[in-house]
């Protein structure tokens, strides 16, 4: 026989009337302090007392649809009024700033980072720098735990990054932290794109800061050309073509072997190789046009007379590399491609001819 316990339904019930009653507004707090308390108690009950959805009175229903507190609280936050939403976001940051850094709270801190991303609490970017390198990071005895907290922090900052000073400061603090190195600079690419998003005008400075880490990341993780191209394209997207074009030829490129890390990968990603996103076109009026190959009609012009000597060097090397890569693609090995290139040097190749033509035009401009 079935043995399923049943509840007490001891009151007369008009269920139809009950379900048809007006929907009620979500819980409203009277002030910011109430929100902070609600959030802290809720997270503690959820994480340490295993109360599940019931940890968050007023937001319980959201846990029916979502698997994690961050997802459920994101949906809950979306139903709040603007003032309550602002309190909620600030509460996430305030809690992260004030949480005692004991080992029990590490899990809670990690959840706050995830909730910050979910609800778009960019206020977190202001408080995070003060917690990096001490506090929770110091409480974690094992390196892998420190790296986990660091990675979660950096990914949070990356996803919240927007053109704001606090985003740049937060990301720079994370980049300077010890765990950034201890991961083999695994997050250098993400850091570059995020910094460029936070401060597009300073993209060359960010590249300077991360040139070495990127170089080591590429080596350590054997990052392939397709991934480098995706990274270059993301930089292009967040910095935008005009700013990239203005400085493209000033990148540190094609340095002799054994010298410091360079930005070859970015030029390779953007203008060299198979189907790059950008192309360089010199016209006979002494203008270099840098344009997207996927159309749109927008391009950036640089007067050849304004290109520095480094720029001319870079441009020539871009041309040369493009040519050699095409030869390699057509079946020649690297040595054969170089030999072919050298045989054609002197204007027999259309590209090389264009390059020398550009130099002539520049000389004419300067004259």
């Amino acid at each position: 026989m079935d043995d399923w316990e049943e509840p007490d339904l001891d009151e007369a019930l008009d269920a139809t009337a009950a379900v048809m009653q007006q929907a009620v507004a979500p819980v409203l707090w009277k002030n910011q302090a109430e929100v902070e308390s609600w959030l802290q108690v809720g997270l503690e009950q959820y994480l340490f007392e295993e109360m599940g959805a019931w940890s968050f009175p007023g937001a319980v229903a959201e846990f029916a649809r979502w698997e994690t507190p961050a997802e459920a609280l994101q949906a809950f936050c979306g139903r709040l009024r603007a003032e309550n939403r602002a309190w909620f976001r600030q509460s996430v940051a305030n809690l992260a700033a004030s949480l005692p850094p004991d080992s029990r709270n590490i899990l809670l801190f990690e959840h706050l980072l995830e909730i910050a991303v979910a609800v778009g609490a960019s206020e977190m970017l202001r408080v995070l720098p003060d917690r990096i390198g001490r506090g929770f990071f110091g409480q974690i005895p094992d390196l892998s735990g420190q790296r986990r907290l660091f990675a979660t922090s950096l990914l949070m900052a990356a996803r919240l990054s927007a053109p704001r000073k606090e985003a740049r400061v937060c990301l720079e603090t994370l980049i300077d932290a010890q765990p950034f190195r201890e991961t083999g600079f695994a997050y250098a690419g993400i850091a570059l794109v995020s910094l460029c998003r936070a401060d597009p005008d300073g993209w060359l400075q960010h590249l300077d800061r991360l040139r070495g880490p990127l170089h080591r990341m590429f080596q350590h993780y054997e990052t392939d050309d397709a991934a480098k191209r995706r990274l270059g394209q993301e930089v292009l997207e967040v910095v935008t073509l005009p700013k990239v074009a203005d400085s493209l030829l000033e990148l540190v490129c094609f340095e002799p072997p054994g010298s410091s890390p360079a930005d070859d990968w970015l030029l390779q990603a953007l203008v060299v190789g198979d189907d790059p996103p950008l192309e360089l076109v010199e016209d006979r009026d002494g203008v270099l046009k840098i344009r997207r190959r996927d159309g749109g009609g927008f391009f950036s012009c640089i007067l050849l007379e304004n290109i520095s000597n480094r720029g001319v060097h870079t441009l020539g090397m871009v041309r040369m590399n493009s040519w050699i890569q095409r030869e390699e693609a057509s079946g020649l090995d690297a040595v054969g491609a170089w030999q072919q290139f050298l045989r054609n040097l002197g204007g027999q190749s259309e590209e090389i001819g264009q390059f020398f033509g550009m130099l002539d035009a520049r000389e004419t401009c300067h004259a």
């Binding site: 509840p7 019930l13 379900v19 929907a23 229903a61 029916a64 649809r65 794109v193 392939d224």
Partner: protein, 325 residues
């Protein structure tokens, strides 16, 4: 005490409520669950709904009555008993109750598959060393995660220690049939697995799990007690599928929208949430991003599905059956 007639009437009047009732009737008729379980489930559902509506602010129930009723059901099935709800009673565990277990001649599949959102997987399930490796190889930029391009092809990764596949008090839904791959895989996987709640922009990936782990975690056919979504169905269309009584079958959303004579998708099971530590390394494959919605047209909305799932039973017939539990 059984659920009240007005409550049952209300459920029967609402399309999503009727989907649950029809599935309960089918599960009892087919011997998947005992009558007492169906009766208790309805009574506890009503009790929880009444209790929540009595809380200040409706305890967060702010949707339509239909939405709130279904949320109560999911909370009942996937969460612990609330501290002050029915304090003298113990809420039964309605999960993993199917009585049609695999028996003689059954060969366990070597692997099962489950589909997860990329965002949540990277944040909560991916081991830190693999997260760093994927980041270092350029597969984990914010944009790559958003577009579901996390990795190219199948990769073996470890899961984060202490992580759970599925909510700790819920169940994990798995299928022995590999999800579609290639162009448009996310949309196809969403359709064939009946994942009606996945929306455009959701980046999905498939996780391949060892068959042994699923078997040991009480893997079995799902019933209403396992909190399926609004396109869960007890009975398959195809007679050959119905004879395989130890398998559930997903509803293929594309077939539903197209009005096909059968809308059976993949075989499916549920099991206890798998602990990352017990699973070991898993293979993952990105499926891309969901690009369209399902369930919004007269051909595949809740009302259309009610017609298919209720097998032509009238409202009175359904009420009569559930009232007799």
């Amino acid at each position: 005490m059984a659920a009240s007639p007005p409550f049952l009437q209300t459920l029967a009047n609402l399309p999503r409520g009727r989907i649950v009732l029809c599935n309960l009737v089918a599960a009892v008729q087919d011997g998947l669950v005992p009558t007492g379980m169906a009766r208790a489930l309805l009574a506890w559902w009503e009790a929880l709904y009444r209790w929540m509506m009595d809380r200040p602010g409706g305890a967060g129930l702010t949707g339509t009555p239909e939405e709130d009723l279904l949320r109560c059901l999911w909370l009942l099935l996937t969460q612990k008993q609330a501290p002050d709800f029915q304090p003298r009673k113990t809420k039964p565990d309605f999960r993993l109750c199917c009585q049609h277990l695999a028996s003689g001649g059954f060969t366990s599949p070597a692997d099962f598959f489950t589909v997860k959102k990329v965002d949540a997987f990277v944040s909560f399930l991916l081991h830190d060393d693999d997260r760093a490796r994927l980041a270092g190889r350029g597969h984990l930029t914010v944009d790559a995660v958003r577009r579901g391009l996390m990795v190219s092809g199948v990769q073996t990764v470890r899961l984060k220690a202490g992580g759970f596949l599925a909510q700790p008090d819920g169940v994990l839904w798995v299928s022995p049939d590999p999800p579609p791959t290639g162009a448009g895989a996310a949309d196809r996987a969403r359709d064939v697995l009946g994942l009606i709640d996945n929306e455009p922009g959701d980046a999905l990936l498939a996780v391949q799990l060892p068959g042994d782990a699923v078997i040991q975690a009480r893997g079995r056919r799902p019933t209403v007690g396992d909190a399926g979504n609004d396109r869960f169905r007890i009975r398959a269309d195809h007679s050959g599928h119905r004879t395989q009584t130890h398998w559930g079958w997903t509803v293929d959303l594309e077939a539903l929208a197209g009005g096909g004579s059968t809308m059976d998708g993949h075989r499916e099971w549920v099991c206890e949430p798998l602990k990352a530590d017990s699973v070991g390394p898993v293979k993952i494959e990105p499926l891309g991003v969901v690009t369209n919605t399902r369930g919004q047209t007269p051909q595949d909305d809740h009302a259309a599905f009610v017609k298919r799932v209720c097998d032509g039973k009238s409202l009175d017939t359904i009420l009569q059956r559930v009232s007799s539990f």
